[in-house]
């Protein structure tokens, strides 16, 4: 994004902001405690716009809900950008001092008149105009998003389009204003922090920089590979080409979580060798040659995680892991020992202290301080540093000393999986309040809210199909077909269907989804699948 990848704001800032664009996020269900902060913002007078194809339980709270077509986010963002410029509401002084590339951006969005934006997104022009004006005129404003932005084939461009809006209006780098991606897992941010990215070392340091490699090599006492690694979508392609024949899977369930799941399962089964390290005997683990039973990170082992406001926090062992399962760190250390590396068995804190030596943004975060302060937000370069509440204050510093931030114009490209006569319904996916991802953890407790695995459609579509709620239907995409019960939901319009991702054993939505992925982030297009729905009886 703008330098290191992390949300620019602290949660508390949304409590005093003036305008909130909640874009592609059903935070009310997927990030309920973030939504508590957001609600405080509404109570304090913030105006909220919710951009989502569905009228979700989050969108219900918004001053205006914009029910866009799935995958038309860039069209909407560019229309908003153009309207802001056309109305003269862009922040000229900020653009001048802290950015470059404005002219190119302005030119790129010029064709995105309100009329065109309305036509492509499906949202009335007047509402787009209102959102553009309110966002641009606000003293403080935030754009918050989650997977509705990033689970698309053009995820990175979607994010860029939102960043451009913040640069256009100066809504970044000041308290209360910023860009807020809320992460889906408790350590997505921390994984990035720790270098679990194809081209980064801990602290977002580039693996291709010789000086960076030299620093790590001096501490690690070995050589760091020069080349960029592969993200998961590239790995899958490499497996298709038999370039990857062995896999070590830690805490992931790609046999169910990846798009076009049937295909991925075939690839995993065809590997020469696969090790799976997990707390459950997942579908992936069942395909593995060796399974390492692991301890549950958050309750059975020690360590740190980083949240969506860049706060590094301690996790602690509260219960002993069952049976022969072991802490991930211990498993890896044992493995290293068998492979002939004399790492010994460092504690989580010792590993963390090494991170602090090598990553300046984490340097000031001792376990003692993390404990005392309830976590610290990076960058935190030394032990006297209080942590950083919001990023990019430097863009407002006088005089400007940092590199200006670039506008990056984006083109709208519709979803890869087009609607057609055979596949007339747009299926999108999402989360429910009481469940989590593929459900392996969350199905362990008796939630009174648990919904049956099903496809949801607009009541009108259900009526047109001639089916009743609860009836079994066949849902077919260009990649596969599943039978699931159907339910009707008012939050959906005709032509739009929804499935939650939590019960792949009953309704494997990823048999349908498209594995077209974003070349920059490697995320597959989970959010936009073309399907047709038929009464199941007609098929049998």
């Amino acid at each position: 994004m703008l330098g290191a990848g992390g949300g620019t704001c602290s949660y508390e800032e949304i409590e005093t902001t003036d305008v909130i664009l909640l874009w592609g996020s059903n935070a009310r269900e997927a990030h309920p405690i973030f939504f508590h902060h957001l609600m405080k913002g509404l109570r304090n007078g913030a105006v909220m716009y919710a951009v989502d194809p569905r009228r979700t339980t989050s969108a219900m709270w918004a001053d205006a809900w914009l029910g866009i077509d799935v995958g038309s986010d860039i069209a909407l963002a560019n229309t908003v950008g153009r309207e802001i410029i056309a109305a003269g509401l862009h922040h000229r002084e900020f653009i001048e001092r802290a950015t470059f590339g404005f002219e190119i951006y302005a030119e790129a969005v010029e064709p995105w008149t309100l009329e065109r934006g309305a036509e492509v997104t499906g949202v009335p022009a007047e509402v787009i105009r209102r959102m553009a004006h309110d966002y641009a005129s606000a003293e403080r404003a935030q754009i918050c998003w989650t997977l509705g932005i990033t689970e698309h084939h053009n995820a990175t461009d979607n994010v860029r389009a939102l960043i451009d809006l913040a640069l256009l209006t100066g809504h970044v780098g000041r308290y209360g204003s910023g860009l807020v991606p809320i992460r889906g897992q408790n350590n997505v941010q921390g994984g990035g922090d720790m270098g679990a990215l194809p081209d980064k070392l801990p602290g977002f340091q580039d693996v291709t920089e010789p000086a960076v490699r030299a620093k790590f090599e001096s501490v690690w006492g070995g050589s760091v590979p020069v080349h960029r690694g592969k993200h998961i979508s590239l790995m899958i392609e490499a497996m298709e080409r038999k370039e990857i024949t062995g896999l070590y899977v830690i805490g992931e369930n790609p046999a169910q979580s990846e798009a076009r799941a049937e295909h991925v399962r075939g690839l995993l089964a065809g590997l020469d060798f696969m090790v799976c390290q997990d707390i459950f005997m997942t579908k992936t683990a069942q395909l593995a040659d060796v399974v390492f039973p692991a301890a549950a990170g958050w309750a059975e082992s020690d360590g740190t995680v980083t949240n969506s406001e860049r706060r590094v926090q301690l996790m602690r062992r509260a219960v002993e892991p069952p049976g022969e399962s072991k802490d991930d760190l211990e498993i890896i250390s044992l493995l290293a020992e068998r492979m002939g590396c004399g790492w010994g068995f460092p504690s989580a804190e010792e590993v963390w202290d090494e991170v602090r030596r090598l990553s300046s943004i984490h340097a000031g975060m001792s376990y003692r301080r993390l404990e005392e302060l309830g976590g610290l937000q990076w960058p935190c370069p030394d032990e006297d540093h209080p942590g950083t509440r919001f990023l990019h204050a430097r863009l407002w510093e006088e005089p400007m000393t940092c590199t200006p931030a670039p506008f990056v114009p984006t083109d709208w490209v519709p979803p890869i999986d087009p609607l057609s006569g055979d596949y007339p319904i747009r299926l999108t996916t999402g989360r429910r309040l009481d469940s989590y991802n593929t459900g392996v953890q969350s199905r362990g407790y008796r939630s009174p809210l648990r919904a049956k695995a099903a496809i949801e459609v607009a009541p009108q579509d259900g009526a047109a199909l001639g089916v009743s709620e609860g009836d079994l239907v066949s849902v077919t995409s260009r990649r596969g077909s599943i039978d699931v019960p159907i339910f009707f939901h008012r939050s959906l319009r005709p032509g739009l269907a929804f499935m939650a991702v939590h019960a792949p054993d009953e309704a494997d939505v990823n048999l349908l989804t498209n594995d077209a992925w974003d070349p920059k982030s490697g995320t597959a297009e989970f959010k936009a699948t073309a399907v047709r729905i038929e009464p199941a009886a007609a098929m049998s």
């Binding site: 109570r43 909220m48 009228r55 001053d63 008012r490």
Partner: protein, 581 residues
Amino acid sequence: MDALLGPPKSVWEGGPLQASDHRVSFGGYRRSVENRRLLLPALHAVQDRIGWISQGALGYICRRLTVPPAEAYGVAGFYALLSMEEGPPRRAHVCDDVACRNAGGLDILAGLDGRPDVHPSPCLGQCDRGPAVFLQRAGEEDAVLVSTTARRVAEVLDGGAVSAPSVAVPQAGDPSLRLLRRVGVVDPASLDDYRASGGCAALARAVEMGPDAVLAEVKASNLRGRGGAAFPMGVKWEGVARSPVKPRYLICNADESEPGTFKDRVLMEGDPFALIESMIIAGLAVGAERGYLYIRAEYPLSAARLEEALARMREAGMLGEDAAGSGQMFDIEIRRGGGAYICGEETALMNSIEGKRGEPRNKPPFPTQAGLFGMPTVINNVETLVNVIDIVLEGGAAYAATGTEHSTGTKLFCLAGAVARPGVYEVEFGETLGGLIGLAGGVTGTGRLGAVLLGGAAGMFVGEEHLDMPLTFEDARDRSAALGSGVVLVYDDDADFRDAARRIAQFFRDESCGQCVPCRVGTVRQEELLARHLGGARLEEDLFDDIAKVMMDASICGLGHTASTAIRSAIDLGLLEREDG
């Protein structure tokens, strides 16, 4: 419902589906906050139409207003006159409170015992012509029966017609009357007659003078609130008028519910234009754009006459964008209560208007700082406000010449019980209690005074030794009494004070909102203690005092503060000891 709220704007508010509903919806949280104030009127609309609040109806209200069902249920169940259970289309609420119970109220209840459509009721504000019955009729207007009988009530419950009782005051025609001068004399439905009898002159004068001058006259008048707290009205008004915060509100507290009180009803039924005129003068003086007139549900005739007067005044340009040619915006909305004594407490009343449970707020902040919707608010009761007319017309100083130095003007008293001519009396401050009773024709029954319940259930019993007390705020205070809402309920010496005390204890328990512990539990423990005593046990006086003291010291509002005073006074006068009681 739609008559009240207008047709729903989208499928999201319970309307039919429109194409745009798939692409946009508006309102969200903000709409829910703004609509909340419509909750009580919406509940009333359902109650009026079908006679109870069904689950389906509550659900529809919640969808229309974006109010959570649990909250709406909590609000609805707060009010005694909103029924959460299906029942007969007509319901009779028979007053068995201090004034009516021995005037036939208990007889009606006994006569109609077992009928599911008959319920006992606290004071209905008809104490001079009891026994009174309040009738709820699904699909028709509510009605009141006075001086009635069990047979008549049964007849009406079974479909019989009702006509509104007329209003009169014993002193009608007396030239010294000020507040009551038009009651029973001038047609309350005619704006022309009102004008012909001097109405609207004060408003014209006030517009001519401008807000600052009106404020100065009100301060000079030294008028003190007639609602019980006796707070100087000018100070209240000035606090709001000088506030930099907008919008500001004016509220007329017409939730007259203190047992034994009916003076505001007589003013509203007999001279509704005067109240509207007074409110306009007040609203313009303090810079409020909107006024609320909150009237208890048990006064359907008052509400109807005020609605009518409001419409006439609006037609005449006295309200609206340019109210009475002042250049200021001012309009009035009438709100009905739902059967809750506590809503007469000013902050509870505000919560009720806001669509919340009628629970009092802690003070400070005071309404002049943060009142209705958190904004600066003047709240005065009916009698207080109506004094403004004379203050504007004759000037504050001239007004202050009546009454005494600290109690200026005239005062309305509600004479009922064992007196020859019950009714509302207007006297200059300083008249003695004995003199007032004499004005009403003296004590009836045995002809010998037993005690006077002065100030209502929240007041106290006083005996003969108080007959020489001048009725002023300062004399009452010096003699540890209070004028309260002007109740003078007279008992002869044969009265059953044990029964009266018990009814008062029952009243406070029924009417406690339940918010704070001292009052919620204290009123129960007090009633239990009294029941034990009346059942023959020794009076646990120490425990009584302990209960009384915590209610007085630690309750949130005046209900708790005064919940023991009348019973305490009855004990002190030895009224509970009489074997022949």
